[in-house]
């Protein structure tokens, strides 16, 4: 971002509240339950970068969140927390709450700009960074809801207090969520770096009766599987990366033994193929091919070469090959799935049927 006294003086702070990652629901809680905290974070953040206009870009389906955010903004305006010359500080801020038209790609920061500008939500190439040319070509900062909600308490109590809350090198706390066949699916604010098995077995109460945990996606659909032997991993950025996955949103999806992993992957790839914006070739035409191949395998129509084809896509839809991170994200669970569930893939192809299909163990 340009310095305080450097032009251009029109700058934007954008809150990415377009939470659409499959399996993730942490921002929703913050938006619905503590909208004032977010607005406070926005005001502080905007002041820090001297942005006079802020947009909160909210997932369109978060109707309740939108309703409450709008009300909170009105309240903040009424109290003079936002508006012109806030409390005589000389600093002015306008906050707009914007409901997304509804595509996953809008959550990609640069595509979010395009969406806000009323164009097709197509990501933009970097450089230029958004701090140089972002929304409407002006310096822009994009932050996540969770990040901005952390700001007010940090300002209030200091950085050391915040850092001290953590159990890892990444300071502070994190909202961890779990979905799947656990006893208590939910969302918890825990110290950063809380081990996965602690979240899974203590906070979520472990697996429901009759279900075993085979693997988890640690941070939404764009992360690689973590297998049980690594469940002692501390849920922070570096530790999760070390075991070949990534923290993502920190919202964990649990795969149990009664669910076909290929079926799960097919569902995920269906989502990504559908949510591709259609801009770059590998993502636009590669993901539907992957989806159709997985569908065929799941339906017992897979061929031996299909696994090579999937491996081909995993390597050529990786980072740097595609325009943005959507396709590499889509390949993360598939790559790990091909590694950890190779035998299941082969059984589908060899038996010409899904081994989970119509069995009494099948997921209900």
């Amino acid at each position: 971002m340009p310095k305080r006294d450097e032009p251009p003086f029109l700058r934007y702070l954008i809150v990415n509240a377009d939470e659409m990652e499959p399996g993730s629901f942490k921002d929703r809680l913050l938006l619905e339950k503590t909208p004032h905290q977010l607005i406070e974070g926005v005001i502080i953040g905007a002041f820090a970068v001297q942005a006079t206009v802020a947009y909160i870009f909210v997932r369109g389906e978060y109707v309740l969140a939108l309703e409450r955010l709008v009300r909170a903004v009105v309240e903040a305006q009424a109290r003079g927390y936002i508006g012109r010359d806030i409390f005589g500080s000389g600093f002015s801020l306008t906050i707009h709450v914007h409901a997304s038209g509804g595509r996953y790609i809008c959550g990609e920061a640069s595509a979010l700009f395009s969406a806000l500008e009323g164009r097709r939500a197509i990501p933009r190439a970097r450089p230029p960074r958004s701090a140089v040319s972002g929304l409407w070509g002006k310096p822009s900062v994009v932050n996540n809801v969770e990040t901005l909600c952390c700001v007010p308490p940090i300002i209030e109590r200091g950085a050391n207090w915040y850092l001290g809350l953590s159990r890892s090198v990444d300071g502070g706390t994190k909202l961890y969520g779990i979905s799947g066949r656990v006893k208590r699916p939910g969302l918890w604010e825990l110290p950063f770096g809380t081990p996965l098995n602690e979240i899974l077995f203590e906070h979520a109460g472990g697996m429901q009766d009759g279900y075993e945990c085979r693997a988890v996606l640690p941070g939404g659909a764009s992360t690689a599987f973590i297998m049980p032997e690594n469940f002692d991993v501390g849920m922070d950025f570096a530790s999760v990366q070390k075991i070949g996955s990534s923290l993502g949103t920190g919202n964990i999806v649990v795969l149990d033994q009664r669910r076909c992993p290929i079926g799960l992957l097919r569902n995920l790839e269906h989502f990504f193929a559908q949510e591709s914006c259609g801009w770059c070739t590998p993502c636009r035409d590669g993901l539907p091919w992957v989806e159709r191949t997985l569908t065929a395998i799941e339906a017992g129509e897979g061929e031996a070469e299909d696994l090579d084809l999937l491996v081909h896509h995993v390597s050529f839809l990786g980072p740097g090959c595609t325009f943005c991170d959507l396709a590499p994200g889509a390949m993360a669970p598939l790559a790990s799935g091909l590694k950890y569930f190779r035998r299941e893939f082969e059984r589908h192809i060899n038996e010409k049927a899904c081994p989970w299909h119509d069995t009494k163990d099948a997921w209900a």
């Binding site: 595509r103 700009f113 097709r120 933009r124 190439a125 450089p127 230029p128 140089v132 040319s133 409407w136 070509g137 193929a273 559908q274 949510e275 591709s276 914006c277 259609g278 801009w279 770059c280 070739t281 590998p282 636009r284 035409d285 590669g286 993901l287 539907p288 091919w289 159709r292 065929a296 070469e305 084809l309 081909h312 050529f316 740097g320 090959c321 595609t322 325009f323």
Partner: protein, 902 residues
């Protein structure tokens, strides 16, 4: 220059090039789709992937898209790296997932960039075994065919149509692998540059519908370099022929003129060449008063007899005939009897233009220069309708401000999306002062509607602000004065300001005002670039040949025994009653390619060639003399006008015609006779030009059916025609390879069958052609040249309550005589209308859509009323009636039809 390394070899490129451009320039065949030299890079297709290495020690490297990679000094890349090669093949495989592989029935086949790139990547075997998605196609009007299933979603079409050409009715819909490029509903593509989609599209989604009606493969056509004959800009084209038919027109890159793009009038207006109203044999009026066909020899005999017996012979030249034909007529009848063949008003204005350009005090920019202007003032010219390609150049010129911002933010100029995003609404200033709204108003800082006199006053006022020595305008209304100050300030702040005007308002003061602005800018130390539009393809060339005479009315004022009308429908140039009166005791000989009022009136008609059946030279509004060549060799009596004139003249004993046997002789004679044209022989190589002893092949090597195509008539292999006027062979025999830039019969390079092969012919990508762009500028500005300011500033326009100032409301389709004969253009032509301001219409008591009557040029006209709220009071725009344009502007009474017109 920047040095970079590809696969161990060092190359150099311009420091601001991207890697793809640099590699193509270095001669590498690196495949690509979404990148286009005129559109920049967006990184969408991922086809140009290469390996990029961080250092000499980096042996792994990472994939990078060449089009999105700035080349840094000493950077190392690999094109042949196995991973990069496999990835590029994979991109083709993805594109082929939904592509229908319908090459055998696809009209793009044989010149398809997708075919070329597929072969280039080596991809052959497709593993995709599922259903392909299909789309519904749209009817996009008379010019463009739509076949969406072939789409590979490179986004070039919308980037050209919307971002580059300013069109609104083509867009991309839906998402993921369902992206759809089309209109929101079936309907005519409105933008006048829609034809470029045919060449922009790398495959067969958008194809030429007019070509489709008589389609043949690219390799089965003879090509000839040509010049567009449908406005004064002189865009370079390639004409394609087979079996005596003109099949299509495609763009011929000229870095200084049209670059990669043509307008739809130029691309689709060729239908008249194949028209049913072509004249194939000489016609003579018999005793019964009817015209009948006669032999060529008879025609020449009769013509010669007329030349011998007639006391006064008047030659009427043509702004759409070649320099050579006009010169032949001028030489035959004598300079004193040669007239411009345009209306008195137009003749006056053209001679004014020649005086201005001849003075050397103003610089006439090429379209390339116009595109680089950073402030543009348009006085009186509705560019999108009268000189469309210039409007496209202006549309790019306003982006200069954005490029400046991008440069400051260190964003490379080719990074298209980033530049556009950063620029936002920042545009270099464009000021459009015209009579009616134009399709450039959306990017204009000021779009002003005024009568010609007020447009001129604005221009004079701008000049007076720029240079106090320029005559001031008295009593300028405050709003105009304020606008003049804004315009003057912007022009002065610019580095390369440009003034555009022309003769289409019919008002000399508008032209003079534009000259004053250019002169005032020159006095302020700027180049003083002034672009003056002329209506027809050789208007300027004809005017440069004039001898101080007036136009048609002057020619007809005195009785003449013989009037020779050269490729000219004189009924479009003067009132019919005037013509009839003048011709009452004259013999009229008409030379033209198609039947019209003039040939019907003529006593002797000689079938002239169209631009596609002869060679010749035209002078564009830039003053650029350019040569065109014939793709069609007709077997009937059609001949070049200069040949008819020469043959008749020689038969009549005129010594001057002695050496008129070839085009080169005509050119030499012209250059010798008129010093202005001294450099004409250098415009293009002479017919004797050979490359390694060979003529240049005008048909591709793969040309097929040479013997079979005539089998229905004769099984003998016919002797191919011989071109006496060009260095081309008429067949595939001859030299295939690099030829002088004025002589490209087609663009083809090994592995590059599509128009994208142009990369191989440019000295630098997007720059001039190797050996320099074709054409010779006849009129250059001179630093010592002086032209005094024009001082006759007109009075401001005062609307009258009883009469309206009727002017030509130009239309891109229909105003041009020749293209208006083309079926596809006719589909785009609308009926004749009269445009009025709403209040004026109310004053007359008429509403939109109602018929109104008025008298113009001695004709009672019944026109449909159109309301144009932006039009100034007292003005009436006459559209779709090019035949009465000669009488405009004029004051008219307007009445609702049915009421008393008097």
């Amino acid at each position: 220059m920047t040095t970079f390394v590809v696969d161990g070899k060092s190359f150099t490129c311009k420091p601001d090039d991207n890697l793809l451009q640099a590699c193509l320039h270095a001669g590498w065949d690196l495949p690509y789709f979404c990148w286009h030299p005129a559109l920049g890079s967006v990184g969408a297709c991922r086809q140009c992937a290469v390996k990029q290495y961080a250092s000499e020690d980096d042996k792994v490297g990472r994939l990078a898209m060449a089009c999105m990679t700035p080349v840094s000094e000493g950077a190392r890349y690999s094109i042949t790296d196995p991973v990069a090669t496999a990835f590029r093949a994979s991109v083709i495989e993805w594109l082929m997932v939904n592509h229908p592989h319908d090459c055998p029935v696809c009209e793009e086949g044989g010149e398809c960039h997708l075919q070329d790139m597929t072969v280039m990547t080596g991809h052959a075997y497709r593993r995709y075994r599922f259903t392909k998605r299909t789309h519904r196609n749209q009817d996009l009007g008379p010019f463009i065919k739509h076949e969406m299933n072939r789409c590979i979603a490179c986004y070039r079409c919308v980037r050209f149509y919307r971002d580059y050409a300013g069109g609104r009715d083509l867009d991309v819909f839906a998402a993921h692998d369902h992206v759809y490029f089309g209109r929101y509903a079936d309907g005519i593509l409105e933008n006048e540059f829609s034809g470029n989609l045919v060449e922009i599209c790398p495959t067969g989604v958008f194809t030429d519908k007019t070509f489709s009606r008589h389609y043949v493969r690219k390799w089965d056509m003879r090509g000839a370099p040509s010049i567009c004959v449908h406005c004064g800009l002189g865009c370079n084209t390639i004409t394609n022929e087979r079996e005596g038919k003109l099949r299509r027109i495609v763009n011929r890159y000229n870095g200084s003129v049209n670059g990669y793009f043509l307008c739809d009038r130029g691309r689709f207006g060729y239908g008249f060449v194949n028209g049913t109203d072509r004249i194939h044999a000489p016609l003579a009026r018999g005793d019964d008063g009817r015209q009948g066909a006669i032999s060529s020899d008879d025609a020449i005999r009769r013509f010669a007899a007329l030349l011998r017996s007639s006391s006064r012979v008047v030659g009427i030249g043509s702004p759409r005939a070649s320099l050579e034909s006009n010169f032949a007529l001028r030489a035959l009848v004598g300079a004193e009897n040669f007239y411009l063949g345009v209306s008195a008003r137009e003749s006056h204005l053209l001679r004014l233009l020649v005086g201005i350009l001849d003075s050397g005090a103003v610089h006439t920019p090429s379209l390339r220069e116009a595109q680089q202007a950073d402030a543009v003032l348009i006085l009186g010219s509705d560019l999108p309708n009268t000189a469309p390609r210039a409007a496209l150049a202006v549309r790019q010129a306003v982006r200069r401000a954005g490029f400046t911002l991008a440069a400051a933010a260190k964003i490379p100029h080719w990074q298209d999306t980033a530049v556009r995003n950063l620029a936002g609404d920042a545009r270099s200033p464009l000021f459009v002062a015209t009579l009616v709204a134009t399709r450039l108003d959306d990017i204009a800082r000021i779009a002003l509607r005024a009568a010609p006199a007020d447009i001129a006053r604005l221009g004079f006022a701008v000049a007076a602000i720029l240079d106090p020595d320029a005559p001031a305008v008295s009593d300028l209304p405050t709003d105009l004065a304020a606008q003049a100050a804004t315009i003057a300030g912007a022009l002065l702040a610019a580095e390369q300001p440009l003034v555009i005007s022309g003769i289409e308002t019919g008002d000399e003061s508008v032209v003079q005002a534009s000259v004053n602005v250019a002169l005032a800018l020159r006095a302020s130390g700027k180049s003083g670039a002034l672009m003056l539009n002329v209506p027809e393809c050789n208007s300027l060339g004809l005017a440069l040949m004039a001898n101080g005479h007036g136009g048609l009315e002057v020619a007809l004022a005195q009785p003449a025994a013989l009037v020779i009308a050269l490729e000219n429908d004189i009924y479009r140039r003067a009132e019919a009653t005037v013509i009839e009166a003048a011709l009452a005791s004259s013999y009229l000989v008409a030379l033209d390619h198609s039947e019209g009022p003039t040939t019907r009136r003529a006593d002797l008609v000689l079938p002239a060639t169209s631009f596609a059946e002869c060679g010749g030279t035209l002078v564009s509004s830039e003053g650029r003399a350019q040569r065109f060549y014939q793709p069609i060799f007709s077997k009937n009596d059609v001949s070049e006008s200069w040949r008819w004139l020469g043959a008749a003249g020689w038969a009549a004993g005129r010594k001057v015609c002695e050496n008129w046997s070839t085009l080169d002789n005509m050119v030499v004679a012209l250059a010798a006779a008129l010093p202005r044209f001294a450099r004409l022989p250098d415009v293009a190589p002479p017919a004797s030009f050979r490359v390694v002893g060979s003529r240049i092949a005008s048909q591709p090597r793969r040309f097929s059916g040479r013997t079979a195509m005539n089998a229905a008539h004769s099984v003998r292999d016919p002797k191919p025609p011989v071109s006496t006027d060009s260095p081309f062979s008429t067949t595939m025999e001859g030299y295939h390879g690099k030829v002088p830039s004025a002589l490209f019969p087609l663009f083809w390079a090994p592995a590059w069958n599509s128009v994208q092969s142009i990369n191989k012919f440019q000295a630098e990508i997007d720059g001039a052609l190797e050996g320099g762009d074709p054409g010779i500028r006849l009129l250059e500005a001179r630093t010592d040249a002086v032209l005094p300011y024009y001082t006759n500033i007109p009075e401001g326009f005062v609307p009258r309550s009883d009469m309206w100032f009727a002017f030509v409301f130009p239309r891109v389709f229909g105003d041009d005589e020749q293209s208006a004969r083309a079926a596809s253009i006719r589909e785009r032509m609308a009926g004749a209308t009269l445009a009025l301001n709403g209040e004026d219409a109310a004053h007359i008591g008429v509403v939109s859509g109602q018929s109104v009557a008025c008298e113009i040029g001695g004709e009672q006209l019944c026109l449909t009323l159109e309301i144009h709220p932006e039009m100034p009071h007292g003005l009436a725009g006459i559209a779709g009636l090019a035949t009465v344009a000669h009488a405009l502007p004029t004051l008219v009474r307007i009445t609702p039809t049915g009421s008393d017109v008097s």
